[in-house]
Symmetry: C2
């Protein structure tokens, strides 16, 4: 629904400076004396980005960023509302001022490049556009020269720029202290990591300035182009783009007309504003999938945590190269994806109202799948002998449960592409509506990286092929999202960060981790974090290993870490031990009409309330870092005059993530729009709430919250 | 049928030297004082290969070729006969002496490597085998150290070692004069060429020693490993293996157990013996395709030469990026693959007894297909609007003609692999039994080469997928063959060399070219050379351009250049102008019971007689280089007591490839086993013969040859 658009003003060649603004955000464009494009950005009169250079150099034209002249500048206004297929809100406004600067190389061959800026209330985006032209058809990008010149030594929440992984813990500290090598060196829990630049960081990069500005730098609509990483100049706090290269060191092979992804800068003096931003999503193209009724958010259980904790194995056998007399694998007796075990999970999901069941380790290949840079690893249509795919499909269908497919590629994208047609047809045949993909390993084609152009296009090809088969995709170990789920709403979730699984197989995630993720990883899209671990300690044979959380915090994550695909990640028996707490996971929604960020500070705390789509039910999550604190939640978002029941899941008074993580208290109270909750959060703790319309009997049986 | 095998002798660790021999060929193995393996080869008492080192080094083990000790040596004898699905003969004997040397690294981790030698009557082959072992599972080959130390500055028939092309003219000259850069520099008619080594040459490398030995060095059974090229040491005439690298400079990613391809050395004092050799074929594995009745040799016409000569275009439109109002391409009016034009070719094939019709330029993508290193180029299931695939399929079926599919990839192997399933299903749907593949362009995955390990495996994947769809493959611009058609008899032909097409779009092939090809390119397998051009001059708008041949020689090539897939390459109207000469193309067989190499000297002349499979009909081809000469053909291969008719197609007495190429004479004579033909070959000329059983009337109407 387009409300207002295209008040076009075009200026001629003379003005070498121009600006656009919206609300408190102002962006200035200027061409300098060397004919180089640049911009600066301001928020409420404060400089966010000092004059910073722009430009792209090509193989064979290493000066394309210089001696440019302005052919024209055009300003337009745009305002529309659109409805996402699923999301944190059911209605999104896309409202910006746009400045298009058409540039031309002054010397021969007079190549053309446009830079398009969009300014929103909460930030700006810009991209390079190569229009169709005689002097530029096929070309290779050797360098992108985009700069973000900051005003000071801001506090950064950063992970190393890595061509292949984003599964790092965040480091919080001044830009001047960034040392990607130091972090990478000790990150031995990450299987494949390639960190080329000691001063390189990844986006979304979250920053906080001394004067209290929250700044987030990322990109939107990453397709057909490598991911952007940032090099930090520690002297002048300038960030400059670094594109992930291919095997030959080239960055991108392009064909005009082509538009790069948007470079995004979000800014506010309130951290919560950044979590509410829809700018990255708005900078993506509308859905290319027209009929979307088959795309369904869901909660799911899975044969998964038992692998992570060593209870069972992905593999059917212990050795790939030892076989019985008939050439069959020799079962190890500990295989998780057996028909019988899978049925238990289906029973559990059906009994719990979880829509889906994921099964990993169901197909041939797991005996010898990792670390050998193999071309051919898995067969995506060949179940292990103890996984009866037909029997399981029928059993799940009989219980109203959807099976979720698992396609681990081990990084061999070429092999996956060869099998896509047959793999997705197989899913259709057995009624799997969703696939979890995985890329654990060095990429094949060898020399390519997870975040390079070839793989970016691979992920998009997977989404396209999946859409053609009405399959939704949850990509693991892929590039971090950039809002592409607007264009491909079947891109229902992604990992692309350090998930809860690290608590199982490594020293885990610190308590602050989930307070940073929404400001970093989740800026680009939902994360399949796999919350809901109830057995916080004792699941591992490694001494001292535990999840760095309280149990109540695990519940809160279903609200604070947005995803339309949420796992109940723990074992059914661990949920059975706490049916009262598990009730929250059964209740919590995964699709929303509205979202209120009540309180948020990266690295410290987050409190979010969300209204379930199409229902008068709100869910609230509040989490803290390693410090205990009190979350204040004014329920002013509730309907006036309506009575509600609050189901409150909170840390027990003596709870503590280290010493007493599983201590929780559940209470039920009457609340209304005037209620202000004061919830104690333990160190590493949290709180979850269901707020539903009160029934008549509730009014008599329940007490008012105070 | 295994006649005799496995007379096993095993010796212990002590003997550091051992030898095997068969007929005139002797091979010695020796381990030197540094524990390095080596071998030498002798023919009839003459040294062919002086003591030459062997070995393979690995990434992380750059001394794997040294400090080896012998665990055991084993000698076996093998003798079998087998019947190829198609071939130059209908029965092949595979008879060799084998020496297996089991070697172990003396230092930790004590890795194992075997070297297996096989000695045949006409040469030897050897390969490296990595047995299954604890100390070596996945590994990367950094260098293969195989040497071939020659005894002198032999005359070589060579083309430059090139990672991506083998479409060079041959240079004849001493090894000491090899200059690959010089040749490559002027080979501007080859689109993609990457020549890394000034002293590098390709195999099959044909050599002739001063003492009259003919030596051919190549490889057999190239799968899962890069192609081998050779570096020439001009000082001591030693050749050393150079493997084609991947994008990262690695040579091969392997998994034990693995056997490398065989390195082959054929040797004789008669050049003809090399053309008769079946050693390369014998070193390949037996067919993996069990039911082969669908694999059929054939002659075919095609919408092809009219593209090469500029009469029509592959593309439907002139521009890819200009469309009409409905978004359709704008036809250029010169598109060759129109339904109407294709029907003309089908009519022509049906009338001429040609089994197939190839159509290039039938599918979307040709407007912009070459030279831009694109990931996505062609759609292999999307015909141009003027190519009615159903109508054409039905029309061809009605005439008993098979359509031959064309899949040009432009080098984007990843894109082809994504489409293989659908492309071959499409062929099955429309009844295409055969596909011509093409790889004109730089390879995608970018950084890979036509002859590197990834592409070698790609070509094999294509053969496997094609076999699963009962499709035969004629690969163009792929790696040169190594006898793999024994294992995959659906690999019915290949280009992999400089074909007749170069006469259309470049300065062409010199008259000697086809006298060298059987000693080089064809050692590994049949070539789709596309002979049969009747209009020798005047087909091109380029002044002076012509085929470097007489018309009679074009006929002879159907016999001298073996292929089970032979094209009648010229335009139907050019054949219509010479129905008497065209009769030979209609008659000539493409599958054989027997082959007699009557005379052969690389670079000078070749005369071959072949008996059509299952019939008492012989065909003879005789060709010469730029010198005129007389071919003497004793018909002693005919059945005694039987009367035959000879249809003789020869150069007219005043024929000459330059001044009078289309002058030919046809005569019909009675011949028998005692007949000795003396046929004048013009400069650049040749002669073709059909020798069939005489009918009663022939005995009265025809005269005896004299």
């Amino acid at each position: 629904m387009l409300l207002f658009a295209a008040a076009i003003q075009t200026s001629g060649q003379d003005s070498k400076e121009t600006e656009i603004s919206k609300g408190k955000v102002k962006l200035k464009f200027a061409l300098d004396e060397q004919g180089r494009a640049g911009y600066s950005l301001y928020f409420d009169g404060k400089t966010v980005i000092k004059h910073s250079l722009l430009g792209i150099n090509l193989a064979g034209d290493s000066a394309f960023n210089r001696q440019l002249s302005i052919l024209a500048t055009t300003k337009t206004t745009f305002d529309e509302q659109w409805k996402p297929v699923w999301g944190e809100v059911s209605n999104i406004r896309n409202n910006y001022e746009q400045l298009t600067v058409r540039l031309k190389q002054q010397h021969s061959p007079g190549r053309l490049i446009n830079i398009v800026f969009r300014v929103f209330n909460d930030g700006a985006g810009f991209r390079y556009e190569f229009p169709k032209q005689a002097g530029l058809k096929y070309f290779t990008v050797s360098e992108e020269l985009t700069e973000f010149r900051l005003t000071g030594d801001h506090t950064a929440f950063w992970i190393p720029a890595d061509y292949d992984s984003n599964e790092y813990k965040y480091t919080t500290g001044p830009l001047s202290k960034v040392d990607a090598f130091e972090v990478s060196k000790i990150a031995t829990d990450i299987a494949v990591r390639v960190v080329p630049d000691q001063q390189g960081v990844q986006t979304p990069l979250m920053l906080k300035s001394a004067e209290g500005l929250y700044i987030n730098i990322h990109e939107a609509a990453l397709t057909g182009y490598p991911a952007m990483q940032l090099h930090v100049d520690k002297n002048d706090f300038s960030l400059s783009a670094r594109l992930v290269p291919d095997a030959l060191g080239n960055k991108a092979y392009l064909y005009a007309p082509f538009n790069t992804p948007w470079r995004t800068i979000l800014v506010s003096d309130k951290a919560a504003d950044l979590l509410n931003s829809k700018t990255i999503l708005n900078l993506n193209e509308p859905s290319v999938i027209k009929e979307t009724s088959w795309i369904k958010p869901m909660k799911f259980a899975g044969v998964w945590w038992e692998y992570q904790t060593g209870k069972s194995t992905w593999s059917f056998a212990d050795r790939a190269d030892t076989t019985d007399q008939q050439g069959g694998l020799i079962p190890n007796g500990r295989h998780g994806a057996s028909t019988a075990n899978v049925k238990k999970y289906i029973d559990f999901a059906a009994a719990s109202g979880l829509q889906g069941v994921l099964v990993e380790g169901w197909n041939y290949g797991w005996e010898d799948w990792f670390g050998n840079w193999k071309e051919n690893v898995f067969d995506f249509t060949k179940p292990y002998p103890d996984f009866n795919v037909r029997e399981i499909a029928d059993y799940a269908a009989g219980k109203g449960v959807k099976m979720i497919m698992h396609n681990e590629t081990s990084g061999s994208a070429t092999d996956y592409e060869r099998q896509l047609d047959t793999a997705y047809k197989f899913m259709n045949t057995y009624g799997y509506p969703s696939v979890k993909t995985g890329y654990v390993g060095k990429i094949v084609p060898r020399g390519e990286h997870h975040d390079g152009q070839w793989m970016i296009s691979h992920y998009e090809r997977v989404l396209q092929k999946a859409a053609a088969h009405q399959v939704t995709v949850d990509a693991h170990e892929a590039v971090r999202p950039t809002g592409l789920h607007r264009t491909y709403p079947n891109f229902i979730a992604s990992e692309a960060g350090r998930g809860n699984e690290y608590n199982a197989f490594s020293d885990g995630n610190p308590p602050e981790h989930e307070t940073i993720l929404p400001f970093t990883r989740l800026m680009g899209g939902p994360m399949d974090y796999t919350p809901g671990i109830f057995r916080i300690k004792g699941y591992s044979t490694v001494a001292g290993r535990q999840v760095h959380t309280t149990m109540a915090k695990q519940l809160a994550l279903y609200v604070t870490l947005y995803s339309p695909l949420q796992m109940a990640a723990d074992l059914p028996e661990n949920y059975a031990a706490h049916p009262d707490a598990f009730q929250f996971i059964k209740d919590v929604a995964v699709d929303w009409d509205d979202t209120k960020v009540i309180a948020a500070e990266p690295g410290d705390y987050i409190t979010i309330a969300r209204k379930a789509k199409g229902r008068h039910v709100w869910f609230v999550g509040a989490i803290t870092d390693e410090h205990k604190r009190t979350a204040t939640v004014a329920l002013n978002f509730l309907d006036k005059g309506r009575k509600y029941v609050l189901d409150l899941y909170r840390d027990a008074d003596d709870a503590d993530w280290q010493s007493n993580p599983e201590a929780y208290v559940i209470g039920h109270y009457l609340v209304d729009v005037a209620t202000v909750l004061k919830i104690k959060l333990a160190a590493g703790g949290g709180s979850a709430m269901t707020i539903r319309e009160a029934l008549q009997q509730d009014l008599t049986t329940l007490k008012k919250y105070k």
